[in-house]
């Protein structure tokens, strides 16, 4: 019973954060995760080659001086949306035969307040979380400090979560 409770709380906690609710019931050996490593490698290559991890490109974006970032994000959304549409229409299953699940995100004040705060940080550091990892890989070693600070920020949010408006 105690364990059941734990599992339930666990799911409840995870569902509060829309980013980690994709529940796969399948159990795989550890090395199955390597495919996500390779997906990450591809993503990292694209991030660097498209210069979206460049501090200068982010400054251009927020000053409306270049179309580049808008083109990248816009066309990524179009391709992503078309793929999702096709997956839904043809009921395409995952590699392991599971139906693909999409979970609806719920509105919270966090999307506005947290969103603004993240925007502030994005303009200063020129990085969102993905590019933080890419900048480190590309040789800007001091960004390790930025990443540690971002982890600290996440922790502090978790600590004060109950007191913040949502």
């Amino acid at each position: 019973m105690a364990e059941l409770n734990f599992i339930n709380t666990d799911f409840e906690m995870r569902s509060l954060d829309t980013m980690c609710v994709n529940e796969s019931e399948l159990k795989h050996p550890f090395w199955y995760n390597l495919k996500y490593f390779f997906a990450g490698v591809l993503f990292g290559i694209i991030l660097v080659k498209s210069e979206v991890i460049s501090w200068f490109r982010i400054q251009e974006m927020f000053r409306l001086q270049s179309f580049h970032m808008y083109g990248v994000i816009g066309s990524a959304v179009v391709v992503g949306a078309l793929s999702v549409l096709l997956i839904k229409k043809f009921n395409i299953k995952s590699l392991y035969g599971e139906p693909i699940v999409f979970i609806s995100k719920k509105y919270s004040k966090g999307q506005v307040i947290g969103g603004l705060l993240f925007g502030f940080g994005w303009a200063i550091t020129g990085a969102c979380p993905g590019p933080l990892f890419a900048q480190i890989g590309a040789g800007s070693t001091v960004v390790i400090v930025t990443l540690l600070s971002a982890i600290a920020g996440t922790w502090v949010y978790g600590y004060y979560r109950d007191k913040l408006p949502h």
Partner: protein, 189 residues
Amino acid sequence: MNFIEWIKQPWPWYVAGPLIGLTVPLLLLIGNKSFGVSSSLRHVCAVLLPANIRFFKYDWKKEVWNLFFAAGIICGAFLVSHFLSNPQPTIVDSDLVEELQQFGISNYNELMPPEIFNWKALLSVKGLIMIVVGGFLVGFGTRYAGGCTSGHAIMGLSTMQLPSLIATISFMAGGFIVANLVLPFILKL
């Protein structure tokens, strides 16, 4: 121009954007995973310092794929910068060049201006704000918003979610405010 020279150039938006978009179906198809990077920061907290905080008490082993993905990003970026990097300085809008000039930023050889993002800068107020405070805002803000550019702007908008549109507009609003109204004062320090 041979293939290697060609691929070393920066990729235009209409090549990079669709490739980033394809990450969405790739992750869904190889394991039913929702694209999103900022969760990795939460998992690091859950692994290293859960400190009995409810938000970090979950079975992070189920989410470890996200950390593999993040590690892959570091390696992919490392590979590119060592074997396929663009030898030319970044071509930046002339208005921005002019603006940054007055703050002593004129080196465009790397993706980050080395005048700001270097280890010694951590000893200055400007560097502390740019590196430490900026990073803190990224981590705190993305988790509060429930996602970042990948989770909300790309995955969320691809699945037509209104909360993600609200989040994306807030990201952009925050960025516009700070880049135009606040950053000049920080860079002047």
